[in-house]
Amino acid sequence: MMKNKMFDKTKKMAEDEITLLPIESIRKQTTDEYLLRFKSKINHDPGQFFMCGIPGIGESAISICSYASDYFELSIRAVGNVTKALCALKKGDKVALRGPYGHGYEMEKFKAKDLVVIGGGCGVAPVRGILEFVSKNRPDYGDVEIFFGFNEDEDILFEVDYSEWEKNDMKVGLALNAEGFSCTRAQKGFVTNILGDLQANKNKVAFLCGPPIMIESTVKMLLEKGFQKNQIYVSEERHMKCGVGRCGHCMMKGKYCCTDGPVFRYDKIN
């Protein structure tokens, strides 16, 4: 059925179209987060997103959290009207998709660099694409340090992947903010509390995604550590409606988050 169809980042946006695609699998990750997998040929950058919706309810921008050529996964938190409806779907139900949109992490640019990947809450989803990409092309990249922060045990996302990443010579750090958690690899606090040992050097690039308050405090900390603004890449979140740089909802000081972003080099937006 999907033989002739491909979601392609190189495709001109003029080919922009809605595709109804059945869910191949749906997995509950936390109390309110679900991982939806779709089978389709796809060519994308980590950090790009789909406009993902249900006719009659609406559309929502969801970033791609996987990196593969014949399937893609979307991690969705049931928090608004559309996302609640999406999470209530079952295997085989169809989702209306447009995309992939936006500028993601152009991984080719970072070859031979040391990577620092920092995610908070459901903000770990877009950066998981980076880690899957690196896992597939491990010799091309240097050291990889991962720092994820969540609230409590139940909120931890992609826990099954951590040991896989560690096998691939990536360091995984985890921070949990709630009292009395049982996860053994986690430390108490916010993600900024586990950045203590992180050292800055010229060959490092940092990728960030998370809630605005986390981005703000983490960037501040990285700059204090000696990172330059052009070594930091931030995946921004905004209210998106059209996804093609017209509707104005996602505008941030003259930049459209949907077409100029959602991944910005920090010096370009601040």
């Binding site: 059925m1 999907m2 169809k5 001109k12 946006m13 003029a14 080919e15 922009d16 179209e17 809605i18 595709t19 109804l20 695609l21 919706g53 006719p55 009659g56 309810i57 609406g58 559309e59 929502s60 928090v79 608004g80 559309v82 996302t83 169809k94 209306a96 809630p211 605005p212 979140e237 905004r238 209210h239 409606k241 059209c242 093609v244 740089g245 017209r246 509707c247 104005g248 909802h249 505008m251 941030m252 000081k253 003259g254």
Partner: protein
């Protein structure tokens, strides 16, 4: 599987084929105005500003006799390219199909330079970058724009002489007392005028001197100075009148409307306003421009700075409608002028 596109169509013809601008034009005696009407009517429905007791409005006319040649329409003509509510797709169960707008060919007569330039601004946003917006393109192609030159400013609110406006029209009328000088701005306009066999004429038009001005559109350095914007923000009701009256404010929302079964309905683009708090609200409740001052500044900076950075011209055309129609009469150019 259903495939369709609602933002694009593949043909990439430029809509307005630019003609060289020069001093030449044609002479139309005022008594022959109806000849022009007949020619325009052949193109499509003629819409012109008419003084409707309280307000000048754009409405269909049957001759050019009752057209207001002195007033400017209270509302903009943007609805003729982007209706307040435009259906993008219709869906019925699992079938989703693209919806094409019903197009009426129209002549917009008596548009001022500010409105004509607004079309050029909107064209930049919707047509000069990929993907072109399909319905906008269709509406835009069905229009013939006939301008009317302002010899003097319409009222105290407009400030177009500060905005570096260009000649963007199919035809434009210049009132010369007992005749109109008509300039041609496109092949579409030339086609109309050819049939009238008018005498040629020469005119170098003079730009009107507006009573008010905007000293500069370079306001980058004022962004951090919240204290100056506070003057406007404190009075602003955030009612969104300025954005709905602005000829270039076309930020839109996309919403799904469906019947009670939740299966049949349509997805529409409808006008929205960056002055509303919920414009930037994301699921979870965070407002990215939750502060009033940020919203107040955003509209003005989008008009003067952000659009310029991206497309090389100011988005504001100086029509003054945002001030004329503002219930609090917030005269925002003064905020900038006071600092420059």
């Amino acid at each position: 599987m259903t495939l369709f596109s609602y933002f694009t169509i593949p043909v990439l013809d430029p809509i307005i084929k630019k003609m060289p601008k020069n001093d030449s034009g044609f002479k139309l005696p005022k008594k022959d105005l109806n000849k022009l009407y007949t020619a325009l009517e052949k193109f499509g429905e003629v819409i012109a500003p008419v003084n409707d007791s309280k307000r000048v409005r754009m409405q269909p006319v049957e001759n050019l006799g009752n057209v207001s040649f002195t007033g400017v329409s209270w509302f903009t003509s943007k609805k003729y390219v982007f209706p307040p509510k435009q259906t993008l797709v219709k869906f019925n169960g699992e079938k989703v199909r693209k919806s094409s707008p019903e197009i009426t060919k129209r002549v917009l007569f008596g548009l001022r330079m500010c409105d004509l330039n607004a079309f050029a601004v909107n064209d930049k946003l919707f047509l000069e970058q990929e993907p072109k917006m399909d319905f906008y393109k269709k509406f835009r192609e069905s229009l013939l724009l006939v301008g009317l030159w302002c010899d003097k400013p319409v009222d105290a609110f407009c400030f177009c002489s500060s905005m570096n406006l260009q000649h963007e029209y199919d035809l434009c009328l210049f009132d010369r007392g007992d005749f109109f000088h008509i300039k041609v701005g496109s092949e579409k306009g030339e086609e109309i005028l050819k049939k009238l066999k008018l005498e040629s004429d020469e005119l170098i038009p003079e730009k009107p001197k507006c009573k008010t001005e905007l000293k500069t559109t370079d306001i980058k350095d004022l962004f951090e100075k919240n204290e100056i914007w506070k003057k406007g923000e404190e009075n602003c009701l955030f009612c969104g009148d300025c954005t709905s009256l602005c000829p270039t404010c076309l930020c839109f929302d996309i919403e799904d409307n469906c019947d009670l079964s939740g299966k049949c309905g349509e997805r529409c683009a409808s006008w929205d306003s960056c002055m509303y708090k919920d414009f930037t609200k994301v699921a979870g409740g965070h407002h990215f421009r939750g502060k009033k001052i940020d919203r107040f500044k955003h509209r003005i900076f989008h008009k003067l700075q952000y659009f310029d950075e991206k497309f090389g011209r100011s988005m504001c055309t100086g029509c003054g409608r945002c001030i004329r129609g503002c219930p609090m009469k917030i005269y925002w150019p003064k905020i900038i002028n006071d600092e420059k």
